[in-house]
């Protein structure tokens, strides 16, 4: 039954060393330049909060913030993420303290199965950064690149509105 699995491994010469900042912390990885940023985050950096739903930039589950801009990490080659500032879902909470959006998603039912949630929260975060007082239309548009199969989006909109309300009071 035993097979020899000591696979000789890839020729590593094509790999390059890249520096990036992830959730405020510097990181260096040694990867092929065409490795997807999604795989660098999940593999090399062990940040599995960012998910793969489609691999083609349609579902938004892989969304992260790159230099403050929302991007689909499944479509970004690692080399193009070098020297950028990345925020993933793991970077939102401050220790035990959830961000306003995270708390709102929890309270309002914005997360059901949870697989779209990291990307959805980051997209919401990006929306609120760009439009501090979004209308419902703005919210719909801002999240239209993040697919959710569970919620029908209603409670996600409520979560965003709730987070806004909290921010206004806070």
């Amino acid at each position: 039954m035993s097979h020899s699995f000591e696979y000789r491994g890839k020729d590593d010469r094509g790999k390059c060393e890249l520096s990036l900042t992830v959730n405020g912390k510097p990181a260096t990885v040694r990867v092929f330049p065409m490795e997807r940023l999604l795989d660098v985050l999940r593999g090399e950096l062990g940040l599995t909060g960012t998910k793969e739903g489609c691999g083609e930039g349609e579902c938004g589950s892989c969304s992260v913030l790159m230099n403050g801009e929302l991007v689909n990490s499944c479509l970004i080659p690692a080399l193009q993420a070098a020297d950028t500032n990345l925020t993933t879902i793991e970077g939102l909470a401050e220790g035990p303290q959830l961000s306003a959006l995270q708390a709102a998603f929890l309270e309002c039912g914005g997360a059901q199965c949870g697989i779209c949630t990291p990307g959805m929260i980051l997209a919401s975060c990006h929306l609120l950064n760009k439009k501090p007082e979004p209308s419902l239309e703005d919210i719909r548009e801002g999240l239209s690149g993040n697919l959710c199969r569970c919620t029908g989006y209603m409670q996600i909109f409520e979560a965003v509105v709730q987070a806004l309300r909290r921010r206004a009071i806070a």
Partner: protein, 744 residues
């Protein structure tokens, strides 16, 4: 405590924090030491004989694990209901994407190339792709006549009604396949060692289904198979039976290699190779009296099961039983039939046959209305089931449901009458034509007929060493709120804070078999058992003198700790018992089909843009009677999500088939609604209670899938005056119909 303190409140989702912080671990987030990756070599043709398999010499095949049908230690089948579906094709293939052999390697990229490096030569055989082709029987692909299953429901004497009818109304209605499109693709990790046997971690709904399938496949006894459900990113039925296949594959690779094996599909493989909603064709012929009351009718309900029987008999059963809708049929004959085609087997998807037959019923009611000259509202009002009347399976409605009132309320909430009047005027001018559509329906919760009795579900509740309480079920969380609701029920039963109750991860080594997480049974049936088991540990503590009949939370915790310290464990099991007076005849397909029905009336407002022929839902009212709302946020979430999927089913989601293979297996080309596409979904509940459900709850997970498609198509017909009898209904279809009738 007389007031409910947990039930009826929107307590925090048990695993919610992990989900919003990215800490929740799904299969592809998990690795194991020494883990390698598995992949599947699949058939490229719909039907044929395998002549030759060759391996491209550019690969070092000795580095790969290769598994074929010959490697299967037990029976080469996926044990479910029948045993016609092989785990790996052995000499013959019956559908595109059918698994033929398995590969594993440490390098997932090389593995992908190696899959392409396996060439298979076939001798193709003629294949069958549609219900009609299958029925023609010019090619027999399954059994004697391509028929996977039939059911007959007969009530009264339908052959005598035609002569008395003032109207005879006929119609044929079809629905297409629908992809569940959970955002997390199917995935499992399997490990094997001689001592423990097989362990599988999976994205799945039913750990014990997988357990049963692996026993047969791997020829191992029950105690040598362990199945653990990982956090699951959506399922909707698409992970009810399919995981037995992917788990079987990973287990075989693990057995052969001695290494843990992860198999995770990408979106293209998941869409093209796994189950979908059964396509359907329903034919109605109805005898109606002058007053619009149904005298009787015949319904032929046929579904396309794909290449193997899998779950088709059960989907057929539910679809057949629901085919008459929430109406009184004094006489009826319903013929249900599932046929085989050379496509990947269809499977479970929220609603499970009912969305298909109810689409037909609700479209047909509007057709009857037209024939008789009554409004869609009035035709339904005159035919609704009333308490004391019997369904098509002769189940007497024992609860005081007033469907007429439910309808009235839905019409009021949707401003139906005023809008219809307004649209009638505005449609004469505008570039948009607007319409309103109604769907009235019911959905039976729990397994059909004697199903729950056969399942014989067992639930456990135990005290923990720290004084907390733990629920032990094989029922899985995949977004719908299992963890939360079952903990709420236990907390309510024990008068404890919700925070004191936790729930074990579904692990067949740790939890009893509470049945599959399907059929909208979890809150209602399993929840009832959770309540019983919880009361069981309370009784134990009371009997042991540890607490009195009334106690504080702290007293309970202390008593629990003490009891465990003294006795080692504090656990109570509850087993399902069929309620008295509930009787189902499997032979004649008659009797109490479901312990409870939830009832609903949905109203859709649509606008059709005549320059692009696109229909858009502008407003949607979903009103349902659900027994008891256990958790308002979760309940609303279920309805909203189900309505969204129903809107997709009606207007956006189409599987494009070619020779039995899905051509649009990517999210770019299989279209589900985004946040920009959906209307406000306005959700309202009524609660009548339910003697058979925990705290009066009825199952609601699937209910919302039944209403949207017929309500929307009814609204489109209202807007355009053109008949549409099929979903999905695309702008291209509206265009063809509108142009055919000579309108612009």
């Amino acid at each position: 405590m007389t007031e409910e303190h947990s039930i009826g409140k929107s307590v925090p989702r048990k695993e919610g924090r992990d989900k919003v912080t990215g800490a929740a671990r799904y299969i592809d987030d998990m690795t194991m030491p020494g883990m390698i990756y598995g992949a599947t070599v699949r058939s490229q043709i719909p039907r044929g004989v395998i002549k030759h398999i060759s391996f491209d010499p550019q690969f070092e095949w000795s580095e790969f694990v290769v598994v074929t049908a010959q490697d299967i230690p037990g029976k080469n089948c996926i044990a479910l209901i029948g045993d016609d579906q092989p785990c790996l094709a052995d000499g013959k293939v019956n559908h595109p994407e059918e698994p033929i052999l398995l590969l594993a390697h440490a390098d997932p990229h090389l593995l992908r190339k190696a899959v392409d490096g396996v060439s298979i030569e076939y001798e193709p055989l003629p294949a069958v792709f549609t219900i009609e082709e299958s029925e023609r029987c010019s090619e027999i692909i399954w059994g004697m006549d391509n028929t996977l299953k039939t059911f007959l429901i007969a009530k009264g004497d339908v052959d005598r009604v035609w002569a008395k009818a003032d109207y005879i109304v006929e119609g044929e209605y079809t629905t297409g396949a629908q992809e569940q499109l959970y955002i997390e693709n199917n995935g499992v990790i399997a490990a094997f060692d001689l001592e423990q046997g097989i362990t599988v971690w999976g994205s799945l709904q039913c750990p014990y289904y997988v357990h049963k399938a692996l026993m047969a496949l791997c020829n191992l006894p029950a105690e040598k198979i362990r199945v653990v459900q990982a956090e699951t990113g959506g399922a909707f039925g698409g992970k009810e039976d399919y995981p037995s296949i992917i788990a079987g594959h990973a287990a075989l690779l693990a057995m052969k290699s001695g290494r843990p094996v992860k198999i995770v599909y990408d979106r293209l493989e998941d869409m093209t190779a796994t189950t979908k909603r059964h396509p359907s064709r329903t034919r109605h012929r109805t005898a109606v009296g002058k007053d619009g009351r149904i005298l009787g009718g015949e319904i032929d309900f046929t579904i396309d099961g794909g290449a193997y029987a899998t779950l088709s008999s059960v989907v057929l059963s539910r679809g057949t039983i629901h085919a008459g809708g929430p109406y009184y049929w004094p006489n009826i004959r319903i013929r249900g039939k599932a046929v085989a085609t050379n496509t990947p087997p269809h499977g479970a998807f929220r609603g499970f046959g009912a969305p298909q037959s109810l689409f037909a019923m609700e479209r047909h009611m509007d057709r009857i209305a037209q024939a008789v000259g009554l409004s869609p509202v009035e035709i339904r009002r005159r035919n609704f089931l009333k308490p004391g009347e019997a369904t098509t399976t002769e189940q007497t409605i024992r609860e005081e449901i007033d469907l007429g009132k439910l309808l009235d309320r839905a019409l009021e909430l949707s401003d139906y009458t005023a809008k219809k009047a307004r649209f009638a005027e505005e449609n004469a001018v505008g570039p948009f034509k607007k319409g309103m559509g109604i769907a009235a329906f019911l959905h039976g919760a729990g397994f059909t007929g004697s199903g729950e009795r056969y399942l014989a579900s067992v639930v456990g509740v135990e005290g923990c060493a720290d004084g907390g309480v733990r629920v032990l079920v094989s029922s899985t969380e995949f977004g719908q709120g299992t963890n939360t609701v079952l903990c709420q029920i236990a907390a309510e039963a024990l008068d404890l804070p919700y925070e004191d109750v936790r729930i074990a991860q579904p692990d067949t080594n740790q939890v009893p078999n509470s049945g599959p997480t399907v059929a909208s049974r979890t809150a209602m049936v399993v929840g009832s058992l959770v309540r019983s088991a919880a009361l069981g540990i309370k009784q134990t503590l009371i009997a042991g003198g540890m607490i009195g009949t009334s106690y504080s939370a702290e007293e309970f915790r202390a008593a629990c700790r003490r009891y465990i310290a003294e006795h080692g464990e504090l656990r109570s099991l509850a087993r399902y018992e069929a309620p008295a007076g509930v009787f189902w005849d499997d032979q004649r397909y008659r009797g109490e089909a479901y312990a409870a029905f939830a009832w609903a009336v949905y109203v859709a407002e649509v606008a059709v843009d005549l320059s692009t022929y696109s229909a858009r839902v502008e407003d949607f009212v979903a009103l349902q009677e659900v027994g008891k709302v256990l958790h308002p946020v979760l309940a609303k979430g279920q309805i909203a999500g189900g309505v969204a999927q129903g809107i997709g089913f009606a207007l956006y989601e189409k599987v494009i088939w070619q020779n039995g293979r899905m051509q649009n297996g990517q999210m770019t080309n299989y279209i589900m609604p985004t946040s920009a596409d959906l209307p406000p979904i306005r959700i309202f509940f009524e609660e009548m209670g339910n003697v058979h459900g925990a705290y009066g709850a009825k199952g609601i997970g699937e209910l919302p899938m039944d209403g949207p498609a017929p309500a929307i198509v009814n609204a489109i017909e209202d807007a355009l005056g053109t008949r549409f009898d099929s979903v999905p209904l695309f702008p291209e279809d509206i265009f063809e119909a509108v142009c055919a009738t000579g309108e612009r």
